[in-house]
Subunit: 326 residues, 2 copies
Amino acid sequence: MTDLKLQLLDRVGKDLEAIEAALNDNLTPYLELVSKTARHILFAGGKRLRPLLMVLCARLCGYQGDRDKKFSTIFEYLHAATLLHDDLVDGAPVRRGKPVAHSLYGNATTVLVGDFLLARALSIAAETGLLAVIDTIAGITENMSQGEIQQLGNKGRTDLTHAEYMQTIENKTAGLIQGACRVGALIAGAPQQQVDALAGYGYHLGIAFQMADDLLDYVADSRRLGKIVGADLREGKLTLPVIHALANADAADRDWMLTVIEKRDFSFREFTDLVAMLERWEGLAHTKTEAARYVGEAKKRLTGFSPSETRQTLQMIADYALVRQV
Amino acid sequence: MTDLKLQLLDRVGKDLEAIEAALNDNLTPYLELVSKTARHILFAGGKRLRPLLMVLCARLCGYQGDRDKKFSTIFEYLHAATLLHDDLVDGAPVRRGKPVAHSLYGNATTVLVGDFLLARALSIAAETGLLAVIDTIAGITENMSQGEIQQLGNKGRTDLTHAEYMQTIENKTAGLIQGACRVGALIAGAPQQQVDALAGYGYHLGIAFQMADDLLDYVADSRRLGKIVGADLREGKLTLPVIHALANADAADRDWMLTVIEKRDFSFREFTDLVAMLERWEGLAHTKTEAARYVGEAKKRLTGFSPSETRQTLQMIADYALVRQV
């Protein structure tokens, strides 16, 4: 584990425990099959990044109440609902090193439990009694489903542009993280300026996390990542490292890359060669630079807040986006 | 077409046109794939019962605004989202005489477009700006997904009780119709007593509609119904006609029925014999009586409102639940 990760865990350990308890409490009275399937995805070692960000943003804005942990579950339930449906849509075999839910419980249960988690998130959002929170959740949900549909429509397209990639990751990933940060500020009753600043922090952080995630598909080893390296390409999903390398490469290298990409069931050797090509044409370096730029923008949004332990933790989380290895 | 249906269409024709327009308008700016799949299920000849009930209940409570049609789309979108996921879960081949969406557009699109319609419903609910409306929608969504999961868990169970059947149809069907009527009253700013009365009307009407629907699976011909007769049993789904007949029958007939039911891929001849058995042991008659009782209860909830054309239309809709043949 990196030093930064250890330091972070030390700072937020108590919050993470409280979030785990809330995630569990808010599922307990439900049907056994629901709980079992929901728990499979919820308690498979997720980072709880989204609820944690909501809790920290609320704290940064001076939230004093005791309902922040409960409200924070909205974002993990939404995230888990999306993962359940997304894994089914992608046909991915593993997630976080465990078989995906639909291979264990069947497609039917996976669809319905995803729906249930979405509904649970919505019910808890309604409990806040704040229309601005509910609007945010409604907007996120709509954008996420559109992002997923865009991604599905783009599958197998080798001419995906940088702009199309950005639109998808904004809808699919950044919106939820942005929403978690915004809602933290909203439940604290923060002034609009702080709400906007934290929403901006979340947006830029979300983009950086997704870019780093897309990079990991080419540089991590699959044992550590808990999924198969090169999975994105096997699913016909073009991400920034490839989009940039294709745009940058000379005709011969681009043609070679396209052959491998279009093939989808490439060998390990071909994949290794492809990664070397991504390196040569700066697909990997460019993605790192872009992610770092978004992390920088995220941190800038925090400068208007007085220095505090919480502000520092949020800065560290932004830095962590760049160094995490899983 | 029955006389009652013609009379009803005459009364509500203009409302139905306005609802069609609103359903279309509120999908128009979205991605082509979304619209196409959503339209497949939305414009396949549904009755628009749920939005119509919302509009009529709002009018009965004196609603004067012009946003009722837009808000009423919430209930058709929720309904369509459920149908999309439900057909996928059930593996049913046809719906309203057309191939189901997942056979045309694939499972992935069907899952995601269902999610999108759910999100759209939620966004429009948020637009009402009324927390009571949002609470209602959140509750409905949660109950519907639980009802679906219950039904899935009960598949193939031949010992399903009357109480379990009631719980499932309350969650799955009655809750949405109840919610449409409640929201109609809420957007009109009606007093709590009227809100409760119309919610009660919707609940009882919803149960009656579902029972009548379950009956149609045994008495309608499939050309008229637009789905395969006996489909419920083929999917391992026990409904009231069968539950009552099994509970009522002597041992020999019960055993014979169970053999056919457990077999699932029964012949047309076996199915006809089973229907005769349901007749003999009053499964069909009992379901009709129960549905009529719920219709009576629904109509009672309207007696506190002054007589008006709208009240009469709502009474006629309740009666229609018993005579409809599709």
